[in-house]
Symmetry: C2
Subunit: 309 residues, 2 copies
């Protein structure tokens, strides 16, 4: 049985995309409940300055809290070297920096071109390497807008492969592919995962970060799984990430993803019934925020997990 590692990114990618700030206590309850349901990794927040993202101001507190939860890997997003310093000081076990494959998007978003981003990645890698073994976080570079950009449009696959290799050369332990814009399709996922893996070598690309903006999220996840992807980011209730009207959503929905994986015979280590109950915590704390996902409404199939002769 293949183990698939789920990284819950709702407390970061979900919450950063909505206007309201979720109270610290609600965030803690959410993170604790997901950990108790068996979710092995949670990205609890980011070290973007609170002046830009007040929703993320309590990330250091959340890291401290989450590190006390049994069996949970505690991840944080960092936008730059300063963020990495803060994440490491807070004790993050995994740090990820988004590296936008669309240079226009990179310039617009963090005012750095590709060369400047690679210099930043190199500096963070050196900082990480200088930590003692017991406080050295896992360092991943998320190749953002890898499947297309809302400013540039199509993104060159050859450039993604080249920049993935450059990020590894600069010291990232791993790269991940991010469909930031919800542009990906399954054929493209297969092609790009294969091409990047071939370039960076085994074990250097394990993660897909997918959005469900056009409804293809789980089909894209399936294509990735079949190309050897073993880590999938997802957000409980598909929270946030939605500049559009009803129906358009953010990250792929953790509940539906876990249902798909468990139904297919993959092992996630997650108790799906318990996981679905965690939605109530978000619904209570953010009553006006739409929650996505089909499995929680439909429930599990009768006799789920059993096989008829």
């Amino acid at each position: 049985m293949t183990r698939i590692h789920i990284s819950e990114v709702g407390p970061r990618d979900g919450l950063q995309s909505i206007d309201r700030v979720m109270p610290l206590e609600a965030k803690k309850a959410w993170i604790a409940a997901e950990a108790a349901a068996g979710v092995p990794e949670i990205e609890v927040g980011s070290f973007v300055p609170p002046s830009l993202l007040p929703q993320m101001a309590d990330t250091a507190d959340l890291i401290a809290f989450a590190k006390g939860l049994e069996g949970l890997a505690v991840a944080a997003l960092v936008p730059n070297f300063k963020g990495a310093e803060r994440a490491i000081a807070a004790g993050a076990e995994k740090i990820s920096i988004p590296f936008s494959m669309s240079e226009t998007h990179s310039l617009r978003n963090v005012r750095k071109d590709h060369a400047a981003m690679l210099a930043e990645i190199r500096a963070i890698a050196e900082l990480v390497a200088s930590q003692s073994a017991d406080s050295r976080p896992h360092f991943e570079v998320g190749l953002a807008t890898a499947f297309g950009c809302t400013i540039e449009g199509p993104v060159s696959e050859a450039n993604v492969v080249r920049l993935a290799a450059a990020a590894i050369e600069a010291g990232a332990v791993e790269v991940g592919l991010s469909d930031t814009t919800g542009y990906a399709n399954p054929a493209q996922v297969r092609r790009l995962v294969r091409a990047v893996k071939a370039e960076v070598g085994d074990g250097r690309l394990n993660t897909l970060h997918l959005h469900n903006t056009r409804g293809l999220g789980l089909a894209n996840a399936l294509a990735g799984l079949e190309e050897g992807i073993t880590t999938l980011d997802a957000s409980l209730g598909g929270l946030g990430g939605c500049p559009f009207a009803p129906g358009a959503s953010g990250n792929i929905v953790t509940e539906d993803l876990v249902f798909m994986l468990e139904a297919m015979g993959y092992e996630t280590g997650i108790d799906l019934e318990k996981l679905m109950k965690v939605r109530a915590i978000i619904a209570d704390a953010l009553p006006d925020e739409p929650l996505y996902g089909f499995t929680p409404d439909a429930g599990l199939p009768l006799g789920f997990g059993k096989v008829a002769a």
Copy 2:
């Protein structure tokens, strides 16, 4: 480029699942607009008695109307021999009978066990064969509850394979696999498509009828495509089919399916922008009915269909 045949089933499976009756003129406008967008086949209704399904009382009128539309194959569902007689009299170009793989479901739904259903299929096949070549409809048997049943739970895959072969032996031109209950997962789709194809021979299983009840519809479609499925049923706006609260839906959404296929490089012959505009007809006629689908809200990706160097 592989051509994938989309069969729009909203006017039948969508409308039969909701309480309200859509006026005949609105149905005609819907069907005409989808045909004009390039949808090659529409299941316009069923010949279930109007006392049971008043929504379908105008199916004969719709067949007559739809046959006047350029390039459209006009399909109807029939529950039994009597329905087949009426469908043929009305001029249907394709007729499908659901054959439930769960015998409990079959007994509960149409009060026939598997033997009685096979006798009905044989009688319909003989009726079809007795028609002159120019009025002989294509005859398909839809293997309903093939992926699980809300009464029996898991359904035996060996039985599905056996019953598929029995339906072909009884005279069906084709069998299709239907995930009536939204229980299917991509691994199961691959396995069952392969097993049925191996048993009934090439060209006898081309169609998947999928529901999106647990959000896996497009992932299941992808698995089917990769096993050689060439016809996919879908419903515009995912209309109907929803005994659950918000979020749980009926058939897979035609708009998202066509987006996935076209993005992957399959050919559907459908103009997606035109197709998405057809939603307005349903929204006007059934203003309280939720419409599903992500692509219509998100819009097409910037530079869709172009490739960056």
